[in-house]
Amino acid sequence: MKNITQTKFLSKNYSTLHGLKGVPLGLCLFLISFWANISHYPVKNISLPIVFALGSLLLFIAIDQYYKRTFGEVKQTFASRRAQWIEQFILGTLAIVAFWIDVTFNLPVNFIGLLFALSYLFDKPKITSPSNKYSIIKLVLSICMILASISPLFLGVNWWNTIGVRAPIIGVTMLVGMLGVIQGAIWHIFFVTSLPTAEVKDE
């Protein structure tokens, strides 16, 4: 059995630590932005991104079932769930604003990338336990996102073109998707190895 602080941390963040749940969103972002990068404009057929989105949704449902069947379920308190809904609503609203800024103005900073970096920095496990391995991964990945988002400031507005990426927003979204998949896989490994393997002997 792990110590009581570790057990408390795991139970409080049980569903948040199910890393593979983040993989479908990361894959979806990566595939859609990759498609946007190789498409011929003006785009006439958008069935492929719809297939990607539906596929990701199905994958998410399958992963959710896997976690429920293999690791069980810990329902968060109403207060934590409410905080999560508010957080998601604010992030969703900000994402729309950031997307609008990115496509309307030709700025050397990518706001979608910065928003993802910010959401990674303020993720729940980081707040509850600032020095754990989960938050370190989030910190490293958010730094990567920030650097990619502000890279045109140092490398020029068109530097993404030199590596075959049509626009900064596409490049940043591909990177965010890729990092989301990597983070999900690493968190899953952390989660599985954090659970106790030996039974406690107390009587």
């Binding site: 057990t7 690791f71 039974e199």
Partner: protein, 107 residues
């Protein structure tokens, strides 16, 4: 010194063991947990976990409800108000106990 022994004797035996304390701590941080999650988080075998849950339920510290989801049994466990109070009291007693020990042994 006798006060410290009285404090130890005053600890609630029902939740003082590491397994039951872990179960109670998990339940106190959540709305509810199912049997499988408790097993994963504590590392207990299903037999031992069942035994501990029965003891805690007997003491009215938890309640559990058995349901069938997709024809499979699923046990949902919740901490009761009494359980929450007993756990808080237990942590307070442990904190006091630690403080008293430190007073006796400042180094």
């Amino acid at each position: 010194m006798s006060n410290i022994f009285e404090e130890i004797a005053g600890l609630d035996k029902l939740i003082h063991g590491p397994a039951r304390l872990a179960i109670m701590t998990i339940l106190s941080t959540s709305q509810s947990a199912d049997f499988l999650a408790l097993q994963r988080l504590t590392g207990l075998t299903s037999g031992n976990l069942s035994a501990h849950l029965s003891k805690l339920a007997e003491g009215e510290l938890i309640i559990y409800e058995k349901q069938f989801v997709d024809k499979k049994p699923k046990t949902q466990i919740n901490i009761t108000k009494k359980g929450q109070q007993v756990l808080e009291k237990h942590w307070l007693q442990l904190e006091n106990f630690r403080a008293n020990i430190q007073k006796l042994n400042p180094e």
